[in-house]
């Protein structure tokens, strides 16, 4: 017998007009201490809405209607924006590993040693074929006027230089290209080739002196490469499209402020100061404690501001800028590690030298996340495969204590690879938490003090429009 459901008088929704904070259909506001002497933050976590409120007036926000009314008028717009950002994007970038090999043996590398020592290159004809397949795929999925991005990544991509350069030469009009390299093979000819074709170049350096930098970044004989990196930095001087990545570990975190001085002196346009990923066991030996890493990282950010005040020239720390952007302009964020689901498998994917596909470079070397092959399988089917869905389905709402955390959409509980490998599952946190808390608190202090522009690149808000702005209620 068919059962006819009676339509509820509330049509499924609670019979509440949403007038009151934290009850019924009212917004959920969480107040957090941001470590500022005047302000605290009030956050509606699901929509990533925030406001900074004088500490002594926090109770007023919950008891009076002005902020609630202002927020309620925009809440659906904010919810749609977050939904699009979290679930509506499709891949537009590929982290393309043209070789398994590396000429270095860095302690924290996420690619297994055997692969880096004895692995294979992707033959040039396969590399060109792969780019052709990707060109045809993105031709169907990316809006006209947008360019897909190919980042030659590693291992060390310049060990397979001829093939990489052939690909850039042949498909320069079809992709935006980038190369992330350890810089040891970035000689004059390579710099000339890449800069003349406007390829973005990322290099790696962890400290301002050889003694510290060479502790973790060394070749197979145990020798350091500090001098080689410095020589490459000089060759890149004056080029706008280069950047440096520093991996923050227990071995170098005490020297980050000096590293900021060094980068600024070298006129590095942009850097990343990434906390160590703990996906593979060897890297965990360098894991710093959260609060200690945060102390040194925030001191380094302070230093960038001091240098900007003194010289008028910025050193943008890209990963922090991304957190700041996540707060003031959520859809403008560039890096997709600090949102859930992360960008792995949904904004980008990684390609191994044999054509195997992974949700992200972090998973290369983890066989159970291998899913299909670019040369043999349908790309949309791979993107919808179980290993990819494990990553693209990982949400903060399913993770404790993230599901109740006020800053869950400014952090994203990275990273699924280390959550899975280090902590035992996709519903677990990654390696760090308090480190991300402190970054977000710092970002709110930056906003409270009116310093936002100093931490973002010039013209960061070009083309954006204000969807919410209040000074006083």
């Amino acid at each position: 017998m068919a059962i006819t459901k009676k339509k509820s008088i509330t049509d499924g929704a609670a019979p509440s007009r949403g007038r009151f904070v934290n009850t019924g259909n009212g917004p959920t506001f969480q107040a957090i201490d941001i470590g500022h002497k005047e302000y605290a933050a009030v956050i509606e976590p699901d929509t990533a809405f925030w406001s900074l409120v004088p500490r002594e007036k926090i109770a007023d926000v919950f008891c009076e209607g002005d902020l609630v009314a202002a927020y309620t008028g925009k809440s659906k717009l904010f919810a749609r924006e977050m939904d699009m950002l979290r679930f509506g994007l499709t891949p537009s970038a590929v982290y393309f590993n043209p070789t398994e090999r590396c000429n270095m043996n860095c302690t924290y590398c996420y690619i297994p040693e055997k692969m880096r020592r004895k692995g294979k290159h992707m033959p040039e004809k396969n590399l060109l074929k792969a780019l052709d397949i990707l060109k045809r795929h993105f031709g169907k999925t990316i809006p006209k006027g947008s360019m897909p991005q190919i980042i030659f990544h590693g291992a060390e991509p310049l060990l397979n230089r001829e093939a990489v350069f052939a690909g850039i030469e042949a498909y320069g009009k079809d992709f935006l290209f980038g190369v992330q390299t350890n810089a040891t093979l970035l000689d004059d000819a390579a710099v000339d080739f890449l800069t003349s074709r406007k390829v973005s170049i990322g290099i790696s350096l962890d400290a301002p002196t050889a003694e510290i930098a060479d502790r973790t970044r060394k070749n197979w004989e145990g020798g350091g490469i500090f001098k080689d990196v410095l020589a490459a930095m000089k060759r890149l001087g004056g080029y706008e499209g280069w950047s440096v990545i520093c991996t923050m570990t227990s071995a170098n975190m005490r020297h980050l402020t000096k590293l900021v001085d060094f980068f600024h002196e070298c006129e590095v346009p942009t850097c990343l100061m990434n906390i160590l990923r703990c996906t593979l066991p060897p890297s965990r030996s360098l894991k710093p404690r959260d609060h200690e890493a945060a102390k040194h990282f925030l001191a380094a950010l302070d230093r960038t501001y001091e240098l900007y005040e003194r010289t008028g020239r910025k050193l943008t720390v890209g990963n922090f800028s991304n957190i700041l952007l996540a707060i003031v302009a959520p859809a403008a964020r560039r890096l997709m590690c600090d949102i859930s689901p992360c960008g792995g498998g949904r904004c980008f994917f990684a390609l191994a030298p044999n054509g195997d596909m992974f949700p992200c470079s972090e998973f290369i070397g983890l066989d159970h996340f291998r899913s299909g092959n670019l040369f043999h399988d349908d790309i949309p089917a791979v993107l919808d495969s179980e290993p990819f869905r494990l990553v693209t389905g990982r949400k903060v709402e399913d993770i404790e204590p993230c599901r109740g955390c006020a800053i869950r959409h400014f952090c994203g509980s990275p990273c699924p690879a280390e959550a899975h490998e280090m902590n035992g599952g996709m519903d677990r946190m990654g390696a760090f938490c308090e480190f991300y808390e402190e970054q977000v608190r710092y970002a709110f202090r930056v906003i409270a003090d009116g310093k936002t522009d100093a931490y973002l690149w010039d013209g960061w808000d070009k083309g954006m429009k204000d969807t919410f702005r209040i000074g006083s209620l």
């Binding site: 900074l52 935006l176 406007k198 990343l272 005040e309 960008g343 083309g463 969807t467 209040i470 006083s472």
Partner: protein, 36 residues
């Protein structure tokens, strides 16, 4: 150098919007336009 000083306000709240283009992971800085 021009710096923006925060005025004393009862409440500060700001949100800007644009088309989402997020494509990057932390191992690389993506340029949104070709290097000049």
């Amino acid at each position: 150098m021009e710096k923006k000083k925060a005025k004393k306000k009862d409440v500060i709240a700001l949100r800007k919007s644009c088309k989402a283009k997020g494509t990057g992971l932390s191992h690389y800085i993506l340029m949104d336009k070709k290097a000049k």
